[in-house]
Symmetry: C2
Subunit: 326 residues, 2 copies
């Protein structure tokens, strides 16, 4: 099974890169890292019913399995290059169903990979409950990777795009989309199933952002990780949260705030920039088609504090968000 | 959960390497590939009840999950450097059981990784049915990776170690070890649960082996892959198969031959060498503590043919081994 299914995926994701000395088909892949560059790599797993709703289209799973990994490269400022894929497929499915799933999966994977010139260079297929692990590999000029650990007191905290869309999309899906307009449903569903890793933004932030993290677990949790790694605190303004018209249409203000803070699955970048450079950075990202919004600032201390629209402090612990508190 | 469990594994597998610019704890790891070297990488998944018997000790799973991947690096002649780990743990287990599993897993992983100076640089833990994907990364001097595709007509076919031990060990386990001596049981169980990737042998074969593959699916299947990649055939002698005393003690001659051919899980190297260099290569590997045995030769044509002890040809297809035939 292994060779044939991986071969189908290879045929649908074919990508010529000079730096792939040996791709799929041997015991391992052989790659050439260009001089004066460092290798950046991450791995993430999606499990059926945990990371995507059971019954999600194979093409959406293929896209998302790659996207969530590329989001980690984006947060480092890396340019994507190569991926390894470990695909576990249920033995209960017929050979025809397995092939159909693999073809759909490969199509969604390729839709994201091909425009990025990312090459799938190795893989493994096994029998078992449906799950996908992808290991992605990117490149940065030596010493230019952006980490979580460089935020300084006084830096501005920004976030790309809008927050809470995926969580709102999942909530709509669970509620049967009652009262949701088709255009909002399509937008939120796309944000849930087809997140767009902020790769161009990450690259543009090299040498400009003092710290960066991708928002996968929710803004407050992930900004909490950034603060811990940088040994600083952060203060965030509720009124500044970037929310999409679709989220505001399907959720009330409190629910919208909650998904923006802790919904997860956003795959936006949360990053810090010295105040003097904020306007330039926002302008640069905007020229690349990526909106970035100031949401707060880095302060002395630890943990994330949130100011509500009235100027008071939200009691985050009481909201059940204390898993990200210091 | 993710951060804490991966942190436990990190603490138990800590390994200092100058080339790890950034290890576990950020969105991705950052590594430096030395000049004039190429990167070699592979991924493999182990699923509970498929790749190891349900109830296998956590430490054995940790060792094996790394070993099967390192075997792929060994087949390329690569020196291991870094690994990424994706660990999926059942939500049904208690927090205490998860922690105990992770500690055992990390111990077994570290027992293999630490002497090799392999660094675990990133990971992901998720909820789901027990499964482990490991992506390993190694280094070779540029252009020196050994592939499956270089075997030439007239080359000698060799294999390291002994074949069929893991399959015999699994058979004994399933049969309740009836009539098996403790020493044989321990040997075969170790070969099943703690395979030793032939890394030193692979490195010694750089520039000497014309082709190499690791024997994971069984000798005939994997030698079949090597032949297909090299556009040649192979003829193998049953009488030459290297069988351990333990296999010969627990199985009759026919069953021993069958597990040697198609049992799988051997993680030995099958490789080809020009006839003039065979003695030198066998001697070099022996000085490194690795036995290598001539088992046949490369011929024109395609597929693997097997000569029995009487000089006739075995009908491989009739034996049910036709999945590896051309």
């Amino acid at each position: 099974m292994e060779f044939d299914l991986i071969g189908r995926i290879r045929d649908r994701t074919a990508q010529l890169r000079d730096d792939v000395r040996l791709g799929i088909g041997d015991d391992a892949a052989v790659l050439a890292v260009p001089p004066d560059h460092e290798l950046v790599m991450a791995i993430d797993t999606l499990v059926d019913g945990v990371h995507f709703p059971h019954g999600t289209a194979a093409a959406d799973i293929g896209w998302k399995a790659l996207a969530v990994n590329l989001s980690d490269l984006a947060a480092m400022g890396a340019t994507p290059a190569w991926a390894l894929l470990a695909l576990t497929l249920p033995p209960s499915a017929s050979a025809h169903a397995r092939t159909a799933f693999v073809d759909g999966f490969a199509q969604g994977f390729a839709e994201l990979a091909l425009p990025l010139r990312l090459a799938l260079v190795g893989g493994d297929t096994t029998r078992g409950p449906l799950a996908i692990s992808v290991a992605v590999h990117g490149l940065v000029p030596a010493g230019q990777a952006i980490t979580r650990g460089g935020a300084r007191v006084g830096d501005t905290v920004l976030v790309t795009g809008t927050l809470g869309d995926a969580a709102a999309g999942l909530a709509c899906l669970r509620d049967g989309h009652v009262g949701v307009q088709p255009s909002e449903r399509a937008y939120l569903s796309d944000r849930l199933n087809r997140p767009t890793p902020r790769l161009a933004a990450g690259i543009a932030l090299r040498g400009r952002a003092s710290a960066c993290i991708d928002v996968s677990d929710g803004l407050l949790a992930d900004l909490g990780h950034l603060c811990a790694a940088s040994a600083v605190g952060a203060e965030i303004e509720v009124a500044a949260l970037p929310l999409s018209p679709a989220v505001l249409a399907v959720l009330d203000a409190t629910a919208a705030r909650d998904v923006a803070f802790a919904g997860g699955d956003d795959y936006e970048l949360c990053f810090t920039v010295a105040e003097a450079e904020v306007s330039e950075v926002i302008g640069k990202l905007a020229r690349g088609g990526c909106r970035a919004t100031r949401i707060g600032r880095i302060v002395k201390g630890e943990g994330v504090r949130v100011r509500d629209a009235g100027g008071g402090w939200l009691d985050i612990a009481r909201k059940g968000w204390d898993h990200f508190a210091p």
